[in-house]
């Protein structure tokens, strides 16, 4: 085989935790933050740091997990952390990986595999930083992980629409009014498939949920071990932004999966694997719950009328019944007319 000029560096090769009891006790994301009660985005920070371990550098782009996490003189991070600009999780991770690599090559730094993780919210990842993440996903020789925590709005700035806000949602940029009940009529951006289809050399893309913490940690460990740039999209219920009782955070994460709204899968070296309840939905062993069960627990959908719920359900049905790769890749053999309900 001819040389490719791709210079792959070894990773830490993190084995999966074999059960909850095998998860180490050490925390690298601890007290010091001031996130909301039952904040699932903070939960994934904790799981991510635990999964990655001490030889890790974390970059955090602007968002809840910057502003609420790292007040001056009160950091929760037990591993090196740096704020990166809202649209820079991709470029930040690339810069860190490049700096480590070249200094190790030149002998200015001890040669060892160091995990590089840049996290971003949906605003930083699906909106502003998408181009930079996309560019980073094409660099085969830098080992890094982009983790997008998705609370489906700009939740730190007052809950505004982002590219991953669900259809019809009430945010401070889309409050229902006297004439328009639905101000946000765009469908949620399908970010993980965007990454996997658009970047053929990327070895790992996946979705996770904080309601399945062990699985989430193990998928993060896999993404950090496989080499090259990787991407994980995590759905994080947000009591403040979604307007629900904090006691429901965990349950809403499960409901998102069980209604088929949030499919869990990983794509490893181009091979897709659905996991958890998502796999059972796909092979018919579990009947999807109605989206109504999920939507009506949240104040952000309180303005929905029956038509809206039906439309939402029809779009989810379409994901599972018509997409070529159900729940994942929105290609269809024949397109049906898409008719949203009238206001």
């Amino acid at each position: 085989m001819s040389t490719t000029f791709i210079d792959e560096k070894p990773t830490q090769n993190l084995e999966a935790f074999k059960g909850v009891k095998k998860v180490p006790h050490e925390e690298y994301y601890t007290s010091g933050h001031r996130t909301c009660q039952a904040c699932e985005s903070a939960q994934i920070m904790k799981l991510m740091a635990k999964a990655a371990g001490p030889r890790t550098i974390v970059l955090g782009s602007t968002g809840c997990m910057y502003v609420a996490n790292t007040s001056y003189y009160a950091t929760p991070w037990g591993i090196p952390w740096m704020h990166t600009q809202l649209g820079s999780s991709g470029s930040g991770a690339l810069g860190v990986a490049a700096a480590l690599r070249v200094q190790m090559r030149k002998g200015f730094m001890k040669d060892e595999p160091i995990n590089v993780i840049a996290f971003c919210g949906d605003g930083g990842g699906a909106d502003m930083g998408l181009g930079a993440i996309s560019a980073t996903m094409t660099h085969p020789d830098y080992n890094l992980l982009i983790l997008m925590y998705d609370n489906e709005s700009y939740a730190n700035t007052d809950i505004q629409i982002s590219g991953t806000s669900p259809y019809g949602v009430n945010t401070s940029f889309s409050t229902p009014g006297k004439v328009k009940r639905i101000m946000h009529h765009r469908w949620k951006k399908n970010v993980a498939p965007l990454m996997l289809v658009g970047h053929p050399t990327c070895k790992y893309v996946g979705t996770i949920s904080t309601s399945y913490p062990l699985q989430a940690m193990n998928n993060i460990r896999k993404a950090l071990s496989i080499g090259g740039p990787t991407f994980i999209h995590c759905l994080n219920p947000c009591p403040k932004g979604w307007d629900f009782d904090p006691v429901l955070s965990f349950e809403l994460g499960e409901l998102a999966v069980n209604t088929g709204i949030w499919p869990l899968y990983e794509v490893e070296n181009g091979k897709i694997k659905l996991y958890g309840k998502t796999e059972q939905i796909a092979n018919g062993r579990f009947k999807r719950l109605p989206v109504r069960d999920y939507l009506l627990k949240q104040g952000r959908f309180a303005h929905f009328v029956e038509d809206d719920i039906e439309y939402f359900q029809s779009k989810i049905d379409e994901m599972w019944n018509k997409w070529l790769v159900p729940g994942v890749i929105p290609l269809q053999k024949e397109l049906d007319a898409d008719v949203p309900p009238a206001n």
Partner: protein
């Protein structure tokens, strides 16, 4: 005036052991990056700065330079990548021109606040619209209030030397701030001149390894960089950055002295360069390659008996306010030629004229008239006849004949 030379496709192999080579300003900076053993370079295309990245790419491909060379997907990422690399201890280089520099503005804004010693080349270019390729200084000047150090060079030799000086200044632990080297688009970036290239050994002696120290982002040094602060701490944080600007002049002076000691090339006063000012009654003042036609014009006017000199401002940030005010107070009038504009500014002048008036108001005993001239925009040449007209007006001001505070050079009706 210098001619525009496009980058040659077949680049000559430049041996760098005490050698003289015919190279462009951009190539001179590329060679400086190689000599400085830069670790991470990020590129994105925009004329005219980007030839420096073409040269560096070739140096990497030929095995002459060892760095991570990353072609970014936009200037914002270009500057963000090196910003992060620098926090992890790497010596970095990038650059841009015109609206490309503006596209990176967010990254440019946070870089000084993060105390990142990034060195960037600005191939000065007019801002869009109307999309002219030629030189204007408003691109680099846009960061003048943010904590960047800004210098303008006027020859390929000075470009190479200043790039080496830049790393030494920016990476000094007392500084840790970004530094931009401005090269006039085409006139300097693409014009060839004979340049003395120092040896790697000399450069090694001059330029120690960048040491991020206790600010290094690395698992062996667990720190949180750039946490969020509000009104409780922002005043103190800004004041720390301000302290850097207070120290900058001394550090720059020190580094130029060290440069002269090791390489033997003298730059005299680092902050501004005087030409035929000794017995001058009036002086013209400007930045960058304006010095080329200015020197010719001064010599011509001198032959005609007009006592006029030229001052080239080399460092815009730090602005050597008290020093330049003391220097200029002996003249009867000063004509500042701005290759930029500052719309709506006091007296509707260019940026340099406005800054200089401010410096003269507080720093000079005599406060001679400071006339502003705006010209050479979008890459238009400032010719010898243009400068003679400028000088006439400055002489009139010196005689007490009232002159407009701002005039546009060679403006067509």
């Amino acid at each position: 005036m210098a001619t525009l030379t496009m980058p040659v496709q077949e680049k000559k192999k430049v041996k760098i052991e005490d050698q003289e080579a015919l190279i462009t300003g951009a190539e001179a900076i590329a060679i400086a990056c190689k000599l400085a053993n830069v670790d991470v370079v990020t590129a994105y295309p925009i004329r005219p700065y980007d030839t420096v990245m073409q040269y560096i790419s070739q140096l990497v491909a030929d095995g002459e330079m060892d760095c991570e060379y990353i072609a970014a997907e936009g200037e914002h990422s270009q500057f963000e990548i090196v910003k992060h690399a620098s926090v992890c201890g790497a010596r970095v280089f990038c650059g841009s021109s015109g609206v490309g520099w503006m596209y990176a503005m967010e990254a440019l804004t946070v870089t000084p606040a993060l105390r990142v010693p990034m060195v960037a080349m600005v191939g000065n270019r007019a801002l869009d619209d109307p999309g002219a390729f030629g030189v204007e200084h408003n691109d680099a000047l846009a960061v003048r209030d943010l904590g960047w150090l800004l210098t303008w060079v006027d020859s390929a030799q000075e470009a190479l030397d200043t790039a080496l000086i830049a790393y030494r200044v920016a990476e000094d632990r007392r500084m840790f701030v970004p530094l931009a080297i401005s090269c006039d688009g085409a006139f300097l970036t693409h014009s060839q001149a004979l340049v003395k290239i120092p040896s790697a050994e000399q450069v090694k002696k001059f330029l120690p390894r960048y040491d991020r120290g206790d600010l290094l982002l690395h698992p062996d040094n667990v720190i949180s960089v750039a946490p969020q602060a509000n009104e409780d701490w922002v005043t103190e944080i800004r004041r720390q950055n301000y302290a850097v600007t207070e120290r900058a002049s001394d550090v720059i002076r020190e580094v130029y002295a060290e440069f002269e000691h090791i390489f033997g090339r003298k730059y005299g006063n680092p902050f501004f360069e005087e030409y035929m000012t000794k017995d001058a009654e009036v002086v013209l003042l400007g930045m960058g390659t304006l010095s080329t036609p200015a020197r010719v014009a001064i010599r011509k006017m001198r032959e005609e008996g007009k006592k006029v000199g030229f001052v080239r401002l080399r460092w815009f940030r730090p602005f050597a306010g008290p020093e330049i005010a003391k220097c200029l107070e002996r003249f009867k009038a000063i004509g500042v030629i701005d290759r930029d504009f500052s719309f709506g500014s006091p007296n509707l002048s260019g940026v340099v004229a406005t800054e200089l008036r401010s410096a003269m108001y507080t720093g000079s005993a005599t406060r001679p008239p400071v006339l502003g001239f705006i010209g050479g925009l979008g890459g238009r040449e400032i010719t010898v006849p243009d400068l003679e007209k400028v000088a006439d007006s400055v002489f009139d001001a010196a005689k007490g004949i009232a002159q407009p505070l701002t005039q546009w050079i060679g403006l067509r009706g």
